[in-house]
């Protein structure tokens, strides 16, 4: 038997948050069956819970992806520039060095760069 309204609210919230274990669920459903006041309290909480769900906002996948890209670029400010320079050097080397050497340089470069 749960006496205070505060405790009743707690158990209702835990139910809404899906945090009740099996034994607590039994208590919850028993209260729902046997106590009119608890039923009324649950109905009011359920209404509030349902009414508030549309407040939640979601971003589009593109928006989310764009912000992630921005964060990663800001966190690693030289990565974009480094990529351009690396590509430029590789192209330059491919012009200067004989063809059989290039794959070895690329492999050596990949091995030396850890992400």
């Amino acid at each position: 038997m749960i006496e205070s309204e505060e405790k009743k609210l707690d158990i209702i919230l835990q139910y809404l948050h899906n945090q009740l274990n099996n034994q607590e669920k039994l208590v919850f459903f028993n209260l729902l069956k046997t106590e009119t006041a608890f039923r009324a309290l649950f109905a009011a909480e359920w209404r509030l819970y349902k009414e508030l769900q549309p407040v939640k906002r979601k971003m589009s996948a593109a928006q989310k992806e764009h912000i992630l890209k921005e964060v990663l670029e800001q966190a690693n400010p030289y990565s974009a520039g480094e990529k351009v320079i690396t590509k430029f050097i590789q192209e330059l080397l491919s012009l200067i060095l004989p063809v059989p050497v290039m794959p070895f340089i690329k492999i050596a470069k990949e091995l030396s760069v850890s992400d």
Binding site: A44, R47, V55, M59, A75
Partner: protein
């Protein structure tokens, strides 16, 4: 958990939390970016964080407060946003009546109600995010909830 996974899991939650407070899409995106930049700096410790949602939202909360102070939208007080109009809300998108009811609450109570019912946060997590004692969160939740129910009930009877 790696950073990208963490971002995928919590980006919407953080964005929604920020938007709920600042009501401006561009500002919300900026703050989201700043929040995850701070997360990135600590991403080596992600696996050890007990309540990741509360942790990332507490970073977002600090970013919101800092940003609003810096930009001096208004001399910032926690209640200053209560008077701001909902400039970006389309009637098609959200329940305007409910937004209006929420707007009648003080800023902290509004965030507490949002945290409990929308983000399913515990009182303890909300206390951590808002930097308030757990008892204060609980009592504010109790009174805010009672007010909202009363207002919703009054609307039902009209």
């Amino acid at each position: 958990m790696n950073f990208k996974k963490f971002y995928t899991l919590y980006a919407d939650t953080v964005y929604s939390f920020i938007y709920f407070k600042v009501k401006d899409r561009f500002l919300a995106e900026d703050l989201l970016q700043e929040t995850f930049l701070a997360v990135y700096k600590n991403h080596g410790n992600l696996a050890t964080i007990r309540s990741p949602k509360a942790w990332v939202l507490s970073i977002a909360q600090r970013k919101i407060v800092d940003k609003l102070r810096k930009e001096k939208h208004q001399p910032f007080s926690t209640d200053s946003l209560a008077e701001q109009p909902f400039t970006e809300i389309s009637p098609m998108e959200t329940n305007l009546f409910l937004e209006e009811l929420l707007n009648r609450l003080d800023e902290t109570s509004r965030q507490i109600i949002y945290g409990i019912y929308v983000e399913q946060l515990s009182y303890k997590e909300l206390a951590e995010i808002l930097n308030l004692p757990e008892g204060t969160v609980k009592s504010k939740a109790y009174y805010a909830r009672a007010k909202l129910k009363r207002w919703l009930e009054a609307d039902k009877n009209d």
